[in-house]
Symmetry: D2
Subunit: 299 residues, 4 copies
């Protein structure tokens, strides 16, 4: 098929290579021209602008895949495409958008007869290159038209049409929420090992846990890799950033009144890691001093 691919960052560029490998025609656009030329040298058709990308595709049958940062950039792009596209065209948002935005955008585009498909993509940068996991939301007849792309872009059994528009990003959000909990679980386990009286070899521990144990998993394989490079992780600080989906998962859990303490705490411990000192701690220390005369640590 012929696909307009907008956004050639780490994920988008690799997805482009992947689609080219599978003999799709890729019309490539990015704000960074160098990226466009780089993908052109791999066989893509370059497009200097959104407009040019749109023009290179056949009206009413266009497929435009956005692989750009969630939030404002995606919003702007959807609004522009809403003006440029024709009824029957398909916009695929492959970024990490909030499913509430996807629901809204699907409604918006629908007014002009434009179809919206939301794709949650997992598997990291390598997944984008060699076959990712894709959770797809969209109307069934629309999905049918473009299913070959998803089958090509994913690993075997790594594509799933989850349901109506929005459901793909919803599923990806929950996937990431689970990921937060799994990562924090693994990390807490190693933290206890680190403080214990024993002298464990963490790479070997992760390795044995990857062979026959209940907790064998890709994340544990990555843990094994990480420890193989830096046995005690001496070179990095324990700063845990986050990128939105974990927070959205917790907010959704609150909206739906689902207790999700493990996912919530995984996120909150990430927030805690961003601070060297806390006001919470100051208040508790001050109170202990007030009622019990317990010494505080002066700054």
């Amino acid at each position: 098929m012929k696909i307009g691919l907008i956004g050639l960052g780490k994920m988008g560029f690799n997805l482009g290579l992947n689609l080219l490998d599978h003999k799709h025609e890729v019309v490539a656009n990015d704000v960074n021209e160098a990226q466009v030329r780089a993908l052109q040298s791999e066989g893509a058709i370059p497009a200097a602008s959104i407009e040019e990308t749109v023009q290179q595709l056949e009206s009413g049958k266009r497929v435009l895949w956005l692989m750009v940062p969630a939030g404002e950039i995606t919003e702007d792009l959807v609004l522009r495409l809403n003006d440029l596209l024709d009824a029957g065209d398909i916009v695929i948002d492959g970024g990490n958008s909030n499913y509430k935005d996807s629901l809204r955008r699907a409604e918006l585009l629908k007014e002009n007869g434009i179809h919206f498909v939301d794709v949650g993509t997992s598997g990291g940068v390598n997944g984008a290159r060699e076959g990712a996991c894709m959770m797809v939301g969209g109307d069934t007849d629309v999905i049918k038209q473009i299913e070959p792309i998803f089958n090509d872009a994913t690993v075997e059994n790594g594509y799933h049409h989850a349901g109506a528009p929005g459901s793909g990003h919803f599923l990806k959000m929950i996937h990431n929420g689970i990921e937060y909990g799994m990562m924090q679980s693994i990390a807490e386990g190693f933290d206890i090992l680190e403080k214990s009286q024993f002298d464990f070899d963490y790479e070997q521990v992760a390795k044995v846990w990857n062979n026959g144990s209940v907790i064998r998993s890709w994340l544990m394989e990555l843990t094994e890799n990480a420890f193989s490079k830096d046995p005690k992780l001496d070179q990095i600080k324990g700063v845990m950033n986050s990128s939105g989906e974990g927070k959205w998962t917790v907010e959704t859990a609150l909206d739906l009144e689902v207790p999700a303490p493990v996912i919530a705490l995984s996120l909150m411990m990430r927030h805690r890691s961003l601070e060297d000192d806390t006001f919470t701690g100051k208040v508790v220390a001050a109170l202990r001093n007030e009622f019990g005369g317990h010494a505080v640590v002066k700054k």
Copy 2:
């Protein structure tokens, strides 16, 4: 009544003054002679040793109040008194002992006919001086004998015979568990205020919350005091130490299969505050780098 008071630290010394105020005879002992002399100058009978303390009291009617650190020191003292005392004598442990130790010690002393009474004391150093809150465990007939002491040592309605030996320290443990949760709740609230877009005056906030609100409490009054001295708590670090009862509360909750997430998390956030960096954080940061190429913060 005539009471042997062993342990003249912050709490014990003030308790001694309090008992003297109420016309009790206090035989005072401490490893620190200066403290003994100090209480002597307030009217106490000095005792240079445990043996001398015991000798100053009438066999079979002795009342010995221990106000020493929980753990080894209390254990040693109970074992020594087990050798020195006679049937009918009463040992009161007014420290923060684990109730499991109290249960065991009550059994041990019972073999020699010695009575054991466990007193959980709350209200801080001032409480010990001017009237504390005392939760008392012990056999009813034993408690009857010494009830006047408890009535004198406490504020009005601040004395409660909770049940069998061990129940006093159990109740104090739970009291402290609740205290951990309340303090963390208050502190989290002020932490959110601190990060907000508004510019709150924390002393005034605590003050208004102490007048008519649902959360008015002694801890909020102490919060008001703390902020009146240091409006943003700039002078102290957020290091939250702990002294045992919170941990025992969580362990007891686990033993009894009671979900106690709030008390548990209050304790765990204290533990978190003792660390500048965490191994948990390093593992999560390393994993994010492995699968998503997210940058780590180098040390």
Copy 3:
């Protein structure tokens, strides 16, 4: 002063009585006519509609106090008042509105020169009647004009001008978040007592904790009251509803990246209490069966 009071439910009616006690003129309106007549019989001036309420007050000096449910009803009322009022008039929202709505409404009314004041009220129904705790947000010169009302409506020291519009509801939100944590802390403590080997008298426990202990508080007094009526709470189910502020507190904590595990868990345990069985539990039980052959409980 002359005040238009819209909303005569449990809180509003009692506030009306309180204002009348303090010799204010109250123009009273409610969708329920019977409530209007009831407050009329206590001295209020009845108003059959919002319009009539507005007409009874002097243009440019009007003070309208809304005591209606947060959300749609408040929103509708503010929009109607925005059309009806004149520059210089003051709208007070005394309900439990989300501070984000208050920020927005303050901006909206400002365009017409109408002042917005947000009042977070604590102390329950009795507080409204006899003197509440009020946390007030609004511009300083506006607040100055109506400060006498707040001083009369509150207990001594129970009024605080917290800052700019929105800050009153923000403070009330955090107050409730702290309240959630305190209540859950107290409740967890009693739950552990209930499962313990001892036989505690909960009313007496709450009573002793209210006299001299670190955790003495109004909530503990209410706990004492509750146990005095139903010693084991045999007559009620442990269903913990919630009304918004706790959730907003957690959402705000997430927005501001403040770890607030205790407040978050207090809310999540409330959500858990609304369910007889959980899908989470089913998944874990199914997994234990899959890997370990552990028996599941059949429905």
Copy 4:
């Protein structure tokens, strides 16, 4: 090698078959004679008692593998073997013992020159049969002697000598703690899906997550299996039992002052699932009624 295998339950019996497959001589004993005969029919040498098991093995070179329930049964067995065995013999505890017990038992047996080896086994019943994951604690020269057994009993790379005696069970404990957190994470994710506005096919969701996603794992494969049999888990109740290691992990985290909120909450939500109603909930509901007049749910 010739191995005395005591305990032929689900795990022990399968381990026996596995060892026989690998041409080891197995002297089999169990309190249940039928199990002994069953393994005899597969090639094992039957032993009617512990004593007979011991006699069938060569003094000073004996290897006795215990596969019995942790706690009292293991304790009794270790004490009996301490009397029966000779210096140089090896006792392997393959059960889920607390590592603190293993540390103590290693010291105890050492006094008689008997070696103790603790083996944490993961992989479930099938793992025991076809190759498990084994984390082994013991002195290096002792482990050397019996390493061939571990290599045969495990999957490739599924054996790890973790360190000194106790370290095997410590590692297994942490493994299970991580497992608790991972399971709860997965389960919370599906719970949010279940309450959402979408209509997900959980088997397909688990399947796509097992192919190319970050959270692909054996536990997710088991999730897929579980949903393939019962698409909405309608047939089971969400009762989450636990068997000790999760609790020990949390207790160890508390001892070592490691914050482990995710593992702790995973356990506490299991405890919560054992109750239909909670005292915590009753207290909170009663308090809401006291201060706000909020209706309680009557029993």
